[in-house]
Amino acid sequence: MSGTSKATIQFSFDGVALTAVEGQSIGAALIAAGHRSWRTTRINGAPRGIFCGIGICFDCLVTVNGRPSRRACLIDVQPGDVVVTQEGAGHADLAG
């Protein structure tokens, strides 16, 4: 691919250190690292990852720095981001 070479940045996914190119979305960085899914659905517990890739479908939701239901296809990786697989609707801390 073309384009100027850019700095890589570090983040983690489910506790494993990964790198991303600066300006890359979390979803793209996870795909590039070989991941296909980072969420399970509320009802069937089925795995989901990127589907539409442009913020339409809300399939790629993931928990970033403790905040659930972020669209991985839209938000850029920031250095040190802690990305965690989201189970169901997230917000498990509030359930009880």
Partner: protein, 389 residues
């Protein structure tokens, strides 16, 4: 000409469905005529409340107590899961010490009239609703408050009555009535090409917020007006709100006659996971314009009761038009101005809850049984009496 029927019910909202349920049970042959889809009007744009907690002693409470009992029976007969019926209980939150005192007085007054309630300290409140604001002063718990998914429940009740022989004609508007020599209604006229006339012994006007138009066609006007309410729907969440939770100010607003905007927040979870935030009340006619000030105010009030909601995403909003009459009481009963016409509307924001009792009472009127409660306060022609005085 279509086959004759005992009862034509105009409107397939929750009130029409409940009337069909009890009329069918009484052995009557029922035909429902609905201009839109089943449960597509106000029924589709409310929260599914079956509340006792917000009622003051009086005729509406009598109807609410009857209905509350009947809903448990309907849920048993059709299946609670099919209606998403949950007897989850209501929690009223007092945000100040003075409100808490007033609420305790109100609840005691209600207990005398048959509403179960328990006064709550802040600790009790937090035990029932762990995510509630710590700024609350206390509250009250109302175990009888219940909830259904209104559109689904209406469709399920109508599915049930269909199986026992009731007919449902959707997408068909009523255009007028045929009268006999004695002035009694003998048939309903519709815009359907296949069933332009449906002969019937009784006609039930369950057209909700639009019942005034039907009543006018029958020469038996009733002053039913729309009161607009917005409801916010959040993203799906785990079970974070366990009861119907509202602020004590809601009780004051329900009975208010103020024409301006009133919002007093009601927050509740749903089986689908979304949290519903409701209860704006405005008299602006049938205006469907989105109002961001109302939406923002409801959001602000919801965050005050449940601070965690600040980080929760709003998914959509919807609005509905609640049918109200000047005295804020429903209109239920025979209309002497149009023999054969039975009115069943004006339930305002309580139509889901009050529908069950309304349906039973109307079936009792038709078969000539004594009614479960006194219908005098709900008589349809009461507004003319007031005017004549």
């Amino acid at each position: 000409m279509a086959a004759s029927t005992d009862v034509v019910i105009i409107g397939a909202g929750v009130v029409g469905a409940a009337c069909a349920f009890y009329c069918s049970k009484a052995g009557l042959d029922v035909t429902i005529v609905e201009r839109g889809p089943i449960g597509g009007g106000t029924t589709a744009s409310c929260e599914g409340n079956i509340l006792l907690s917000d009622k003051e002693p009086g005729p509406e409470l009598d109807l609410a107590l009857l209905s509350s009992r009947l809903w448990t029976e309907i849920a048993e007969e059709i299946g609670a899961h099919r209606l998403e019926y949950q007897r989850k209980g209501g929690v009223v939150v007092a945000t100040s010490e003075s409100t808490a005192t007033a609420l305790r007085g109100f609840a005691a007054h209600q207990r005398h009239a048959g509403i179960e309630s328990v006064d709550l300290s802040l600790d009790d409140l937090i035990e029932l609703e762990p995510n509630v604001t710590r700024a609350a002063a206390g509250g009250a718990f109302y175990p009888q408050d219940s909830q259904i998914q209104p559109m689904l429940a209406t469709a399920q009740i109508i599915r049930h009555v269909r199986r026992t022989g009731a007919r449902v004609i959707t997408g068909t508007s009523v255009t007028g009535f045929a009268r006999g020599r004695d002035g009694a209604i003998t048939a309903v006229r519709t815009d359907s090409t296949t069933q332009p006339t449906i002969p019937a012994r009784w006609v039930i006007n369950a057209a909700g917020t639009w019942a005034g138009q039907i009543a006018d066609m029958a020469g038996a006007p009733i002053p039913v007006l729309p009161r607009r309410g917005f409801i916010l729907v959040t993203e799906p969440l785990p079970e974070v709100v366990h009861h119907k939770v509202y602020t004590a100010e809601y009780v004051a607003n329900v009975a208010s006659s103020d024409a301006g905007l009133e919002t007093s927040v009601v927050v509740e979870g749903t089986r689908a996971g979304s949290v519903l935030i409701g209860a704006s009340r405005e008299r602006v006619g049938f205006d469907r314009t989105m109002s961001l000030p109302v939406v923002r105010k409801l959001a602000a009030q919801a965050v005050e009761v449940f601070p965690f909601l600040a980080d929760v995403t709003l998914l959509r909003t919807y609005l509905g038009f609640r049918p109200y009459c000047p005295d804020h009481l429903p209109v239920i009963g025979n209309d002497p101005r149009a023999p054969g016409l039975i009115q069943a509307t004006g339930h305002e924001g309580a139509g889901i809850g009050l529908s069950a009792g309304t349906g039973l009472l109307i079936s009792q009127i038709i078969i000539g049984a004594s009614t479960a409660i006194d219908l005098q306060p709900f008589r349809p022609h009461r507004f003319e009496e007031v005017a004549a005085r």
